[in-house]
Amino acid sequence: MTILSQILFGRAGHSEVRSSDFAFVFGLRILALAVIGIFISIVVFLYIRSQPVLARDGLQFFYSQEWNPSEEQYGALPFIFGTLVTSLVALILAVPVSIGSSIFLTELAPSWIAKPVGFLIEMLAAIPSVVYGLWGIFVLAPFVREYIQPVLGNNLGFLPLFQGPPFGIGIFTAGLILAVMILPTITAVCREVFLAIPRSTREGALTLGATRWETIRLAVLQTAIPGMLSAIILGLGRAMGETMAVTMLIGNRAVISSSLFAPGATMASVIANEYPEASSDMHLAALTAIGLALFLVSLVVNGVARWVIAFYRGRFNV
């Protein structure tokens, strides 16, 4: 009882002199607890709803490759694989561009250029996922099929990664669209981190005779490594949870393929693709279990990113 009253009223509540103030804090605290309650119940409900398949298959669910709803066979490995590979492709493409652009915005461009360019990059994040998907189907996928995949296949075709017929739709194209979508996230965090580095650090390097690039490398990039790391992890989190554009571009096949040109599916895309039409309880449970896994993984990824930022703040006092 005392613990409950401590949670409900707290110290701040008891220190309020007026009863109206007391009621106000009490109300706000109830509201906050309700939101926390919703968060907890997301985990609980997803766990309960995925019980049928988890009780039947146990952990095997997560490392089995067979996904065959008509046979009631459920293995989530192809989707875990698809999520990892598309996110990795997206990171490889987006990270250099993001870090380069944030250097350009904070270190190089005068403010009359940096402001509009920064605004345009932020606007990339405002375009809804489904619009990226639409553009991907009708513009990006044909372009990839006609120009990018033949070139990659002809020159790097000895690698299993770039073998197979060019469909346009597939893991590679999904990773490409994800790269565009996580670019603003990574750029925004990197930009903030670079701006937090004191001017005197840069001036120190310049005084020692460093060129502008050397100043950026020594004073900015090296100082900002933890910050850039957390930016990349946040980008990873965004890429893993992204649903619509990937669903529209990846081809939705539950297979593990060594080629990036092959169709595939991710954890998020299989839910969006199959959940509205799933009818058997076991199928719904399997999709919910994938959702639960996605939820837990994104919690861990974002938790790590925030921890890195907090650690960095504590250490560099910025």
Binding site: S101, P128, V130, P276, F295
Partner: protein
């Protein structure tokens, strides 16, 4: 400032060359970053503008495979979903932000801040699964309520975050002045702090609206969709993003054309909201410093 050009003359050729090369690369990265936006924009305008018509905004979809018709029902459905979601999420979000900014140091407040942080980064499809389990499954029907609930859960953490940040900018002496006049703390918070920062709080709300207006994945499994005008809140409800998705993956050229028109409408809406919010914020900031 140091005269960089003078120092430059004494540098070795290699360092000078590397400097120019890397700075060029960085500039190229920035150009690469805004290129996709330009291309997406170009195609949305090119494909979307010719497909726009009065009929598109006002009529129901034509029967499968037939040309003509529009997305009037989807636009109306989206308006209902977003309005319903904000009716729930805005008060909760703003009050939550008030709590974090004004009573920042409790255990509950810390846990709440942590929760909203994690909620912000939650994949939206997961929220859809949760609402399916709590609203759709018990009532055995996709509904506008379910869609709005999913959007509201996505909206609350955004509003909390922006409200908290905006209220923290209110100088402490303003609060002290209110308290010194003998006002109760809750009145100071609501009628001095919150009211004083209301334009900025509204900016946050508008940005949150822009974010959820384009949400598709959770609506697929909560509001679902409908080829008719939205009838009741307890029935499956069409929405613009879901309609764009369904038309984009359809085999009919006319539907694909309409998907572009829908995308143009949606992007225009989202950008207009963003622009309004930013201009509002800029005016608020300049009014503050003046």
């Amino acid at each position: 400032m140091i005269n960089v050009a003078r120092i430059d003359q004494h540098l070795s050729l290699r360092r000078r060359w590397k400097n120019h090369f890397m700075l060029g690369l960085v500039t190229l990265a920035a150009i690469t970053a805004i290129l996709p936006l330009m291309i997406v924009f170009f195609h949305i305008l090119k494909e979307g503008l010719p497909a726009l018509s009065f009929e598109f905004f006002t009529s129901l979809p034509a029967p499968t495979g037939q040309p003509g018709g529009g997305m009037g029902n989807a636009i109306a459905g989206s308006a209902i979903l977003v309005a319903l979601a904000s009716a729930v999420a805005v008060p909760i979000g703003v009050l939550g932000g008030v709590y974090l900014s004004e009573y920042a140091d409790g255990q509950v407040a810390n846990l709440f801040r942590w929760t909203t942080d994690l909620l912000t980064s939650l994949p939206s499809i997961v929220v859809g699964l949760f609402v399916y389990a709590t609203v759709v499954a018990p009532f055995k029907s996709f509904s506008a309520y379910a869609g709005a609930a999913a959007l509201a859960i996505l909206m609350v953490p955004i509003v909390v975050k922006t409200t908290e940040e905006v209220l923290k900018l209110m100088p402490q002496h303003v609060r002290e002045a209110g308290l010194a006049l003998g006002l109760p703390r809750w009145r100071v918070i609501l009628f001095v702090v919150l009211r004083g920062r209301l334009p900025a709080v509204m900016t946050g709300v508008i940005l949150a609206l822009a974010r959820i207006a384009g949400e598709t994945a959770p609506l697929l499994i909560t509001a679902f969709g409908n080829r008719n005008w939205p009838q009741a809140l307890s029935e499956p409800t069409p929405s613009l993003p879901v309609q764009i998705f369904n038309y984009a993956i359809s085999p009919f050229a006319d539907w694909q054309r309409q998907a572009w028109a829908g995308a143009l409408t949606l992007v225009f809406l989202v950008f207009a909201l963003n622009l309004v919010a930013r201009l509002w914020l800029a005016r608020d900031a300049s009014g503050r410093s003046a």
